[in-house]
């Protein structure tokens, strides 16, 4: 029988859980991860990574259909969807194998099964593990980190059937490309699937309940994105309530209400992207002091729950629903357990968010409206892609880099970008914010020419009325 007693047991092997376990091991703690399905979690297997693979295919499709702009011509452009999906699955599998290797290298024990809190034993926390409903073992540790993640939210009347009406999970492995698609919800997940399908030749309609798409982003960015998608030929409707969603006709029929009027949308397929709910069920929270609010575990700044020795991280513990947030929480949680000195709680404001639709969207910090609402007297800088040489050379002249500064101190409060490759640029501002630079250092920094990053410089300059190239 293998070891059953650990310093730290992590329930869930996603980007929160496996990172926490590796960090624990680095700090000399004996760690185990209990994972019921795939190491790497949703992110790696059914989320972040496989969608990026799909979106790379749709980007290629987009380029192929616009070859003329680059001096090429081609006939009979077609794709094999099975191969596109296969590529995505292969990448996910490769990375999941990579996680297994990393855990092994770091001497983390991996337990295959479903973990559940089961009281205490000899002053230690006990976790029971089952596989396919049958018990496979009990493990104990002083500290248990819950990292069970989340799943797609479904709403009454908006239930998926897994074929015509689906969530991200089925949408990741389509067998055929529908001629028409309705995406309900315009957050990151919704817009990425919308963009993928659109660029693969499907007629896409996106509906959003609030008055703008990508509601978590800066309002100006939302408006810019809306315009871009509309220009591409996507149908976008905001301020929409779904009255009815049923199967029938070509596939599914949605009855929606816009501005008091009723409309019917008929499509082959529907993707539901209306948020997520935490996986709080069947993990042994009953009878503990772990508090659950709106399907998520309540934690303090050190990821502690109300139950001593039980912690929660990642999607399970609340927004923002981001893999990098989960990983970071895992690291802080474990370092706290190990007694590492000089720790700081995670500053939510400095977590960047990226959406990989075309055009890409990336942001960090406060939006203009939120900065104002927080009482800041602000300066705002903007720089358009059309003013940047590299962007034009790439054939990507639609986009914008926006920065928000505190007028008084010069603190960079937020940065908001839309356009090609901005997801790779945003971390420049992320580092700047973490190092607490002001506009002065950002102005002093030398940005290489010709790069898209020059727009980051120009946006800062513009906030102070000094932009050179626009």
């Amino acid at each position: 029988m293998a070891d059953t007693q650990f310093d730290v047991i992590v329930v869930g092997g996603g980007p929160g859980g496996y990172v926490a376990a590796i960090r624990a091991s680095q700090l000399g703690l004996k760690a185990a991860v209990i994972e019921r399905e795939h190491l790497g979690g949703i992110c790696l297997n059914w989320g972040c990574i496989p969608t990026k693979a799909l979106l790379r295919s749709s980007e290629v499709s987009h380029i192929l259909h616009n070859l003329d702009a680059y001096g090429f011509s081609a006939k009979d452009i077609s794709y094999d969807l099975a191969k596109v999906v296969q590529r995505s699955r292969k990448i996910a599998k490769q990375l999941s194998g990579g996680v297994a290797h990393l855990l092994k290298k770091n001497k983390v024990t991996v337990v295959d099964g479903h973990g559940k809190l089961a009281g205490t034993q000899g002053g230690l926390r006990k976790v029971d593990v089952s596989k396919d409903g049958k018990p496979v073992g009990s493990y104990t540790a002083k500290h248990v980190i819950l990292a069970t993640g989340a799943r797609a939210r479904t709403l009454p009347g908006l239930e998926p059937d897994g074929k015509t009406i689906v969530t991200y999970r089925e949408a990741m492995v389509p067998e055929t490309m529908p001629k028409s698609l309705l995406v309900i919800g315009s957050g990151a997940i919704g817009m990425e699937f919308a963009s993928f399908h659109h660029d693969m030749g499907c007629a896409v309609t996106v509906i959003e309940v609030v008055d703008r798409i990508l509601p978590a982003e800066d309002e100006e960015i939302s408006a810019f994105a809306h315009k871009q998608f509309a220009k591409q030929g996507m149908t976008i409707k905001t301020g929409v309530k779904v009255a009815k969603l049923e199967k029938g006709g070509k596939g599914a029929r949605a009855t929606i209400e816009v501005a008091g009027k009723s409309e019917t949308i008929e499509v082959e397929k529907v993707i539901l992207a209306v948020g997520i709910v935490g996986n709080v069920e069947d993990i042994g929270l009953e009878g503990t002091k772990v508090k659950v609010e709106k399907t998520h575990v309540v934690i303090n700044e050190w990821m502690e729950t109300g139950e001593p020795g039980v912690y929660a991280i990642g999607d399970l513990a609340g927004p923002p629903w981001l893999a990098h947030k989960a990983s970071h929480e895992g690291v802080i949680c474990v370092e706290r357990i190990a007694g590492v000195k000089g720790l700081h709680p995670l500053d939510v404001r400095k977590i960047p968010g990226c959406t990989y639709c075309r055009p890409q969207i990336a942001s960090v910090g406060l939006s203009e409206a939120k900065a104002k609402a927080a009482g800041y007297d602000i300066r705002v800088g903007r720089f358009p892609f059309v003013g940047n040489g590299k962007a034009i050379a790439l054939g990507e002249s639609e986009g914008m880099v926006k920065t928000v500064f505190d007028k008084k101190t010069g603190e960079l409060l937020g940065a908001h970008m839309i356009g090609a490759e901005v997801t790779e640029l945003i971390q420049g501002y992320g580092v700047a914010m973490t190092l607490e630079t002001t506009e002065a250092e950002l102005m002093h920094a030398v940005f290489p020419h010709p790069t898209l990053s020059e727009m980051m410089h120009e946006s800062v300059l513009d906030a102070y009325g000094r932009a050179i190239h626009f």
Partner: protein, 301 residues
């Protein structure tokens, strides 16, 4: 200085000495949170009035903008780094002298009667002991009520005449000085003023005053009588419009009805911000003050 650029700028704006702060960032780096903690937690506990009322729109003077002390031929020295309080005093008083055009009015008050009344009052109870300064505070407050134009501040748009007399009293402490405030001194009796002053001064020396207890104030009193100073001129505590400098009561030869006589005389000098208060108003205030001090029974009313 190992501090983030933002922390450096915020410290400069708040008049904080970065060197005196403990950094909570990686390897002791001073970060924004440390400045915020210092500003709200009272590391900046100066003889200060709230900045909100500060009338100055011009650039703030830099600390220690004095000519460099690094001139050849100076003897060996030891350096005592400026505390935050020192820096705030330097900043505010430099500001005061640069922007508030001071002028000075001196008046002599005979205080034999006041000393007699004080002695009699102190003999009547065990639970209080009035000081000359307590009586001066009371007289000042009453005089300001009679001449409210002297209880005022300059702002760019208007002169603010306060509807209440809040008297800041300078208290010397180890690191500098601080000015706890007797709120609404005009409507408080001697016994209450005395008790409050004693409590504020004690806690000021222990550095236990809350910000609201030393911020604000509409008029200041600085009394160096106990050190034997005959007469001096104080620097106005901005954004206030005036400060009364109180000297020692001492026996002097005075002329009364054409004959030499001996009286206990206390010289008081009012420093006035001429933007706010003109000479005549200053004189009117001092006359009212003198009348109360020399006829102390009237201040018991």
């Amino acid at each position: 200085m190992f501090a983030s650029p933002l922390a450096k700028r915020m410290a400069e704006q708040a008049g904080l000495d970065l060197g005196s702060l403990k950094g909570s960032g990686p390897n002791g780096r001073v970060v924004k949170a440390d400045i915020e903690a210092a500003v709200s937690g009272g590391a900046r506990k100066p003889a200060a009035a709230p900045a909100a009322a500060a009338p100055v729109a011009a650039p703030t003077p830099t600390l220690g903008a004095a000519p460099s002390a690094d001139v050849p031929g100076m003897p060996a020295y030891e350096e005592f780094p400026n505390s935050n309080m020192r820096k705030v005093i330097a900043k505010r008083l430099t500001e005061s002298k640069q922007f508030a055009p001071h002028f000075y009015l001196t008046i002599d008050c005979e205080i034999d009667e006041l000393l007699k009344v004080r002695k009699e009052l102190n003999a009547k109870g065990d639970d209080y002991k009035l000081s000359v300064n307590d009586l001066v505070i009371r007289a000042t407050a009453l005089a300001l009520k009679r001449v409210p134009a002297a209880n005022a501040s300059w702002t760019e748009k208007a002169i603010r005449v306060y509807k209440q007399v809040d008297i800041s009293v300078a208290v010397a402490i180890d690191e500098g000085l601080i000015t706890p405030v007797i709120r609404d001194a005009g409507s408080k009796g001697l016994k209450q003023i005395s008790a409050e002053m004693k409590d504020l001064a004690t806690r000021a020396r222990e550095r236990k005053l809350k910000p609201e207890e030393f911020q604000g104030g509409t008029f200041s009193i600085s009394n160096l009588g106990m050190f034997g100073i005959k007469d001096f001129a104080a620097v106005i505590n901005p954004p206030q419009g005036a400060i009364l400098a109180v000297g020692a009561g001492e026996q002097r030869a005075v002329v009364k009805d054409g004959a030499l006589a001996i009286a206990t005389v206390m010289s008081c000098t009012l420093s006035v911000d001429h933007r706010v208060v003109d000479g005549a108003i200053g004189a009117e205030f001092l006359a009212a003050f003198k009348k109360l001090v020399e006829d102390p029974l009237t201040m018991l009313l």
